[in-house]
Symmetry: C2
Subunit: 289 residues, 2 copies
């Protein structure tokens, strides 16, 4: 199989970037993968894990000549890295990211692109819905993307041909792709990812006493519900902040739901409580099918 791309540059060789490099090389989708980052020790580990064919702390060298550039850094750093290195990117390259927030990122990057008139927009927003609470190249795997779904978030300003290129990358990694606007993405992902992470952090903090002193009474229910509560503060602090509008709305909806259940308890309204649980069960069972 012939490699589809001569050079793919990945900024940030953590769990997501590292897994991407490994998958691209293992599937022979890129002749060359350049890992770009600030920490040379981590970059060297990425080389050892065969997540890159070369690594550099020099963004200019890393991005120059790349067909595809993937910004795999915490969401609050994505527009900054794009801005600082835009001038090193080939005019014909395609740039994407893997951030869990899209509205703020896509908006910022489009502003930057607009400030360079005469150049075609190079950026296409992506959010591959895979990963784990674990971080770092050490936990990376070439199969991480396979079977998952990637959300692509083009706008009216996005180059359609580049959307097709990015879609082909994710598909070549074994992903399904869906398209939605950045705003629709942020609202939906707030509910099915950001709020669940917040609740997992909340539960872990609330039950710190039992976790520390009575761990033996903690069962699998708590473990599964809070698994993502072991996720990184560097990644999730930024995600929550960048999606604060949709997330705050979901927090309000969660508080309303909790108050409703508290009222059912206070009123000893077991029939309504069972109906509420029954609806939840029937809905959740759809995901097991």
């Amino acid at each position: 199989m012939k490699a589809r791309f001569n050079k793919v540059a990945i900024a940030g060789m953590g769990l997501m970037g590292g897994s991407l490099g490994r998958a691209l090389l293992e599937r022979k989708l890129a002749l060359e993968v350049t890992g770009v980052g600030r920490n040379i020790k981590k970059l060297k580990l990425a080389m050892k894990k065969r997540a890159a064919t070369s690594v550099t702390t020099d963004y200019k060298a890393g991005f120059s000549g790349a067909d595809i550039i993937v910004l795999s850094v915490p969401v609050d750093m994505i527009p900054e890295i794009f801005r600082d290195n835009y001038r090193f990117m080939d005019p014909s390259c395609v740039v994407t990211d893997m951030g869990s927030v899209k509205g703020a990122i896509v908006g910022e990057i489009e502003k930057i692109e607009k400030s360079f008139p005469g150049r075609r927009n190079v950026f296409v927003g992506s959010h591959p819905m895979v990963g784990s609470e674990k971080t770092g190249i050490a936990n990376s795997s070439a199969g991480m993307y396979e079977g998952g779904t990637c959300i692509i978030t083009p706008t009216v300003n996005t180059d359609k041909k580049r959307v097709e290129v990015i879609r082909s990358v994710w598909k070549a990694l074994g992903m399904k792709t869906v398209e939605m606007t950045p705003g629709e993405h942020d609202e939906k992902i707030s509910g099915v990812s950001h709020l669940p992470h917040m609740l997992a952090f909340l539960l872990s903090n609330m039950e710190a006493g039992v976790i520390k002193n009575n761990r033996e009474i903690i069962g699998n229910g708590f473990r599964d519900t809070t698994r993502i509560g072991a996720s990184s503060e560097e990644i999730w602090g930024g995600i929550f902040m960048e999606n604060k509008k949709a997330l705050s709305t979901d927090i309000d909806r969660a508080i309303n739901g909790l108050n409703k259940m508290k009222a059912l308890l206070a009123g000893s309204d077991i029939n309504s409580l069972k109906r509420y649980i029954r609806n939840a069960r029937k809905t959740r069972e759809l995901l097991n099918k």
Copy 2:
């Protein structure tokens, strides 16, 4: 290996009762296991699954002559079944339950025992911290109890010898045992089991639209966080209601936590937000060790 008990009666042959019967027979801890319940079809399935050596819908016949009686029914039915069948139980028998709430159940049952002066108290509260969101004998397994922890909740009124008998039963099934008061149990289990279930039901209901229409964008984080959201309304409606005091306190704590995070978002206080997440991560990581 010689069986330790001649006859164990289990009222309720669902996931928990069925798994118990299978484990007792497989480990030859009981010569005879009698499954007692209302639905003869389900009882016959229990026989087929080797969860019982005999079954009956007649509580009198089922409980008579049993050394051990285990009430494995939804928590709101435990005191009722005890009350209605107390007179059929051998004076020397030991009775326990597997309910996820202890204060209300133990209190009710001690009241019933007190109304029969001259008889030694037969009841010892248990809560084996194992199980699943699935229900029914079809999902039972002989190994379900192995490696788990069982909380035993004696009071000043509990017969110490019977506590030892019950402890030996759970230990023979491969469980660790810990003792605490019914009140302490309910407070701790509210936080590490009841509130997590409530949050899983809440998330499943809140995200019903995405679950029904955009299932492809739902990742493993949401799936794990809401797994127990597929639990039975018949079991959990009763648990929530019977533990309403501790659970309402935990709901208030959760709402306070959510309001705190909303304020951090509104104030763009990313450092405090990262600190909050970092504490949660460090705490949750303790469970992975």
